[in-house]
């Protein structure tokens, strides 16, 4: 039996040459002692593979039509157990891909692996990162629920802010001047054909470069990269201490990749795919569009940016960031690689992680959004069951004050907490503030009667710490 298999294998190799072609790839020498930090690229790759296969499976049932996509997704999610699992795997696979590519990039940056001769590895990787984010955004839109519909508008609105080409770009996104019959099919085409095809081409080049330029050796303090001598030194290292990629460091990649697949499947099984929102009806205005978790930090950034700087953040910042990332290996392609000798690099990574992490937490909290669901204050919080204070509390809720201000834990966080406002402001100050408005607060002079104002002020004056 084994002999027969060997014969078939020999025949295939003789006529097809696939094994002969693969052997040098598997056996090419790599530096020794690569360690676990080197598996992040493979993890990103396997996440993409998950996306491709689950995406193909989902596409066999999903109908990319504005009037039918939602129904097919509902069927996939609620009627077909495997469909639900695959949707979940596609979602968690996307999350894994974003997470892994972020960590991979951070590791490459910290280890200085973008330096000579691997500048193009880094540049192609940066483009791949942007393609992955674009895949994430377009994938969220294919969910085609209320959130997706409004996310398209938000995306088009942001594109519209780009000078000169903004309008055309926004219409390109919408598929016309408004949302219409082709909006979803365009995104489907971009998400399923254009971006993956571009990505596979670029990824092939990225992997080719990894083989061609070699896997970077772990950095060592006091061993700078000298472009004049590096290649010769690297080849010497491989000759002296190199180990074949398979099986030496590759076993770690295999374990990590299996870990990604199993984790994604477990998350999909236990947590499922993201729930579908309301149907995609632009006339249902109780929508609260927000991106998937990996772009929440950007959502928060837009909310917290001063209006005067907004165009800079939306238009200029991504452009500058892209240019800086792409240009990085061109200007800093030599010198020390070890993070201990590159404190600025460590600081940049820490600062970036801290900024994104903080923005992410703020985005989860979204304290700038009015709390439309807040319930009227209960009598226990008001401290009265009738009378002026009780009336004032009713007006506080009815007039939307409570959407932005909390009292005793009830209400929004957009404005200051007013639980003890009676300690800080007197009646005259409250009147002035309510009638004229304040920084980031509307004026109520034209919409509040004198009696309602009196009730409201009376109620607020009772909000004291004692």
């Amino acid at each position: 039996m084994i002999e027969r298999v060997k014969k078939i294998r020999a025949w295939l190799d003789d006529r097809g040459g696939l094994l002969k072609m693969a052997a040098p790839l598997l056996e090419h020498p790599v530096p020794p002692r690569l360690g676990w930090m080197y598996v992040l690229g493979s993890m990103t790759l396997i996440a993409l593979v998950i996306q491709i296969f689950t995406g193909i499976a989902l596409a066999t049932m999903y109908i990319p039509s504005v009037s039918q996509a939602y129904e097919t997704l509902q069927f996939l999610t609620n009627e077909d157990a495997t469909g639900r699992l695959l949707r979940g795997m596609h979602y968690w696979g996307a999350s894994a891909m974003v997470l892994c590519v972020g960590m991979h990039m951070m590791q490459v940056f910290l280890a200085g692996a973008y330096k000579y001769p691997r500048e193009l590895n880094w540049i192609s990787g940066v483009i791949l990162l942007f393609l992955i984010l674009a895949l994430g955004f377009t994938g969220q839109l294919l969910r085609w629920d209320q959130n997706a519909v409004w996310s398209v508008i938000v995306g088009a609105k942001q594109a519209g802010k780009i000078p000169v080409v903004g309008d055309a770009l926004a219409r390109f996104i919408l598929g016309g001047e408004n949302m219409g019959g082709t909006t979803l099919s365009r995104f489907f085409s971009i998400h399923v054909f254009i971006l993956p095809a571009t990505m596979i081409l670029l990824l092939s080049y990225h992997l080719y470069l990894v083989i061609r330029n070699g896997i970077s050796e772990p950095p060592k303090v006091g061993r700078p990269v000298d472009p004049k001598k590096y290649k010769e030194w690297y080849h010497g290292l491989l000759q002296k201490e190199g180990v074949p990629f398979w099986p030496d460091p590759a076993w770690r990649d295999l374990i990590a990749c299996a870990g990604v697949i199993i984790s994604v499947a477990l998350l999909a099984w236990f947590l499922g795919p993201p729930e579908l929102g309301s149907p995609p009806d632009p006339t249902l205005i109780d929508a609260d569009p927000r991106p998937d978790w990996y772009l929440i930090w950007y959502f928060a950034l837009l909310a917290l940016t001063p209006p005067a700087l907004e165009n800079v953040v939306i238009v200029a910042a991504p452009a500058v960031l892209g240019i800086v990332l792409l240009a990085l290996p061109i200007f800093f392609n030599h010198g020390e690689r070890h993070p201990l000798r590159r404190p600025w690099s460590v600081a940049i990574v820490l600062l970036t992680s801290l900024t994104i992490g903080t923005l992410w937490l703020k985005g989860q909290e979204s304290h700038w959004s009015p709390d439309f669901d807040t319930k009227p204050l209960p009598a226990s919080a008001i401290g009265a069951e009738s009378g002026p204070a009780f009336e004032g509390a009713r007006i506080f809720h009815e007039r939307g004050c409570q959407y932005c201000h909390a009292i005793e834990g009830y209400g929004g966080k957009r404005g200051p907490d007013l639980s003890t406002i009676g300690d800080r402001l007197d009646a005259a100050q409250l009147n002035l503030r309510i009638l004229n408005g304040a920084n980031n607060m509307p004026a109520y002079a034209s919409s509040l009667s004198q009696s309602d104002l009196d009730f409201l002020v009376n109620f607020l004056l009772t909000r004291k710490s004692q």
């Binding site: 504005v66 519909v149 409004w150 508008i153 088009a156 006339t283 837009l302 700038w368 009815e398 932005c404």
Partner: protein, 168 residues
């Protein structure tokens, strides 16, 4: 250097040059023939203008003076399969017997749908907390300008609004 003779299998430089230019040009032309319609089909929505059409949104008597209500209308040039997505909403305010204002529901910050809080007489945006007064002017938050207004007219006993692109 000897000149190539008639019957030589090596093409003369002139012929070789001609074939090089001709084949390259033909390949470029074929590329254009394939690529132009695809690219133009893909990007044409970015440049296609839709008609501005008047759409009825309700009878004049159906709106109370001083009230702001949501109205729905069909966008212009809807494709046959567009379904509910071809319908848009707007906020209509009857200011006086013969005066109506219709606001786009899109916040001027990033386009999210603003909600009308009747008792507070404010429009509020759920995304980043933009607030507008009942006349559409900015009251608070990040929006850079007032709510977009649709053209509106009274035709017979109907209030009509004119479709327009999503305000960007």
């Amino acid at each position: 250097m000897t000149e190539p003779q008639a019957g030589d299998s090596v093409p003369v430089p002139g012929r070789r040059r001609f074939l090089y230019i001709f084949s390259s040009a033909l390949a470029a032309l074929a590329g254009l023939v394939l690529g132009l319609p695809i690219v133009s089909f893909f990007v044409s929505p970015a440049y296609r203008k839709q008609a501005r059409e008047w759409r009825p949104v309700g009878k004049v008597d159906g709106f109370k003076i001083g009230e702001t209500v949501e109205v729905k209308f069909l966008e212009s040039d809807p494709l046959p399969w567009v379904g509910q997505v071809g319908t848009s909403a707007a906020w209509l305010r009857r200011v006086a017997a013969d005066e109506f204002i219709v606001f786009a529901i899109n916040c001027t910050h990033l386009g999210c749908p603003v909600r009308w809080l009747a008792k507070a007489e404010l429009f509020m945006c759920p995304c980043h907390g933009g607030v507008f007064y009942k006349d559409g002017t900015v009251a608070a938050g990040p929006p850079p300008r007032p709510l977009h207004r649709y053209d509106v007219r009274i035709l017979g006993d109907q209030v009509e609004i004119r479709t327009s692109p999503v305000p960007l």
